[in-house]
Symmetry: C2
Subunit: 459 residues, 2 copies
């Protein structure tokens, strides 16, 4: 059964690539309303595909936002293990479009890589999960486990609707373990299991000064400039030397890092040199007292994403703009709570703001951080699958990104979450020229075929 499935997967790589390309062509950008039809189309396509490979109860579940695709195969019987496999079919926007070397939504193979927005995050990975199931169903008409697949369309916008479904439909989603394939390996030869995720708090700080734009010749020096005030406010949120967030109370709930965990994280093979090479950064930077791996995983962050307002075209307009804004986010770690942090940030900003401007603070999204016991059998079964395909056990890391659904699965279903994936660190997820390394995609399918078998016996 296992061998037949593996052989099928190797013989049908072209089919799985073709299916992925079809899915990638749909620009299912969840944050842009104009792509709503593409979201609908991708959801419908996925439901049809799950039906085709033999899943039951397949449905496109409408929500207040983007729909959720569900399907299951429960033929292993009530005594067998049940795995809930999660993926997301929505993608990040393609901008800045000018920096792509290929058309962002025209899947293009160059060498071993497939370039397209969503190739790695997460369409390639969710299609690996489905392909592994197909390999069993096409060769032996059965899987070694019961499998439920749930695919959301709001991961990139921190949408609340899958969490809502998890809370409302525990009957539908109940399982013995959850698998989330939406992450990168440590490098091409080193698999990785993530035993946690950072949370997130995404704010927009708007500073309002004069009622309308003013001439900086007439009023410069006399009327406060909202951008001048804004840069001072932002500079006061983050210390440039310690590189710590300076909001009082911000670190109060951050769990101290144990020596055991430091030792575990030290096994992650990333080096500063490799990270500089991957990113092109002139030099790395981060919180004093922590390694690069720790800074990118178990420590909170502060990042400004963009600063709308004023005059940003070519040329020079000498204007004091009526308003200036900054979009910024903070990655949070256990046990920080984004709601509490939002309150701390707002109080602090209001306490340091000058009386010459007014502040408006918009909360654009929140996600809870999580940690997972990586020694749970369902997770160690995945470690075993990696050994079979990659010849070595995975490293254990905490994800620097935010997957709020991890915490929901933990809290609502009460089962271990296997957070892993077959992306690579140079996939440029969320950036121009996102790609999927195809040999790793195919190894991913085989790893999942092994995983379904190992979970049946050991999970």
């Amino acid at each position: 059964m296992l061998e037949a499935a593996l052989t099928y997967a190797r013989d049908h790589r072209d089919r799985h690539l073709t299916l992925l390309i079809d899915l990638l062509r749909m620009p299912s950008v969840s944050t842009l309303p104009e792509h709503r039809p593409d979201i609908e189309r991708a959801a419908g396509w996925l439901a049809e595909h799950l039906r085709t490979i033999g899943l039951s109860r397949v449905q496109v579940i409408p929500t207040d936002g983007h729909p959720i695709v569900f399907g299951e195969w429960l033929g292993a019987g009530p005594q067998a293990r049940t795995l809930l496999a999660y993926g997301h079919y929505d993608v990040q926007p393609a901008d800045p479009v000018g920096e792509w070397h290929t058309s962002p939504f025209e899947p293009t193979i160059q060498g071993e890589n497939l370039f397209c927005r969503g190739a790695s995050d997460d369409k390639g990975q969710l299609m690996a999960v489905v392909a592994a199931a197909e390999a069993y169903l096409e060769t032996g008409r059965r899987l070694p486990i019961n499998l439920k697949i749930v695919l959301e369309g709001e991961e990139e916008v921190l949408g609340p609707n899958l969490a809502e479904l998890v809370r409302r439909r525990r009957d539908l989603l109940a399982a013995d373990a959850v698998l989330i394939c939406d992450e990168a390996m440590a490098d091409r030869e080193t698999p990785q299991i993530l035993y946690g995720v950072r949370g997130n708090l995404y704010l927009e700080l708007e500073v309002r000064g004069p009622a309308h734009d003013l001439h900086s010749g007439t009023y410069g020096g006399a009327v406060d400039n909202p951008f001048n005030a804004l840069v001072h406010l932002l500079a006061q949120l983050h210390d440039p030397v310690s590189r710590r967030v300076t909001v009082p109370g911000f670190y109060d709930r951050v769990r101290p890092l144990s020596e055991a965990e430091r030792a575990l994280l030290a096994q992650v093979p990333a080096t500063d040199e490799v990270t500089c090479h991957l990113t092109g950064a002139p030099a790395l930077a981060g919180e004093v007292g922590y390694t690069t791996t720790e800074r990118a995983s178990v420590r909170p962050t502060f990042d400004i994403h963009g600063m709308p307002g004023g005059f940003t075209s070519k040329g020079h307009k000498t204007v004091i703009p009526a308003r200036a804004a900054a979009k910024f986010s903070m990655r949070l770690v256990p046990d920080q709570d984004p709601r509490e942090i939002a309150g701390l940030v707002e109080s602090y900003l209001r306490s340091v703001a000058p009386p010459t401007v007014n502040l408006i603070i918009h909360n654009l999204g929140m996600a809870l951080p999580a940690v997972i016991d990586y020694q749970a059998p369902a997770i160690q079964a995945m470690a075993g699958a990696f050994v079979r395909v990659f010849g070595k056990p995975p490293v254990y890391m905490r994800s620097g990104g935010s997957l709020p659904i991890v915490r929901e699965f933990q809290d609502q279903l009460g089962v271990p979450v296997v957070l892993t994936g077959f992306g690579l660190p140079d996939d440029s997820a969320h950036a121009p020229n996102e790609k999927l390394h195809l040999p790793t995609f195919y190894r991913g399918i085989e790893t999942l075929i092994h995983y379904y078998a190992l979970l049946a016996s050991r999970g």
Copy 2:
């Protein structure tokens, strides 16, 4: 001769308004290449109009940038005084267009005001200069002085071409005094003569970090964020408490403010209350130790105009952008030199920048500051004209804006520059809903008719 001209002006207000409306309809935005045809059209229209009222040697002088319109009437003879009257027919961009209550380039009369981009800055004012000349030429076929009119199309972009012409064609432009009508009165009843202008240095600071945009989950905390670095750099240029520029050496050449000049400036009727009302600012702000009038005229400034880069659309994209930029300018005062200040700013920024980013500093424009001896006869003649029309002498102020041509006229022609105007403080020059107060426009024409006569006898 004087009375006939005044009567003509009063009888032809509708004609002068209609002509101004025709000129305003041409959106001669000098900073936007797509408006180049409108620039050409406005220049041609003005040349034709100068010919119509009886000027000689009228020409549209091509330059490397936008053309200069010239015309003269030298019938007063070589013994008479010659005035060079300056204006600019280019205008600021209309954005943010959404904040206009009328269409920005459709002149619209509401009550006593004419709304249109350029109505006050400077088309209304240059047309007053021309209308006053027309009043003499139509009624007595002669002016009491020789008059040269020069109209440039690059004032709003700090273009170099008029200065080039002044240097190259002193023969064409030679005069006994220069009149620049491009300023505002202190209020509706208080005329104002500006005895100086601030200089300007407009820079764009670009901060480059990683080679491409990165996912802030994967790299947040480990790779420096160009916007994080940029806000710290900007915050270090300007102290939020003293509100002084913190670049070493910045104030070294600033002339100390004498008690006599403080007393002169104290006569300017602007109050903080009125300025708050005009601007809608919650409270005024400025350099410690100076009055609002002083801060807006004789002291240098620092203003951020916009911060291009990163993600500024709706929604939330968790990106570490590859680059971030800030457009900012500093108004300069005698004897600061923008070239020297540019060097100081660049050295300082490079000395405080972290090694985790690279800086690129673009110089987008420079203008020299100037001071003028307001007791010169040609300036006191204008004071006399104001007394005749407004019933009181003007206040004396230094302009907070930058008119680099003031310094060029001083240095190249060696004559006094009469810098004044008939705008009002609430005209919203450079902002949405720019307007011209029509009763003041008509009083301006009469003041200029008096000025030409007084200059003949006293200037």
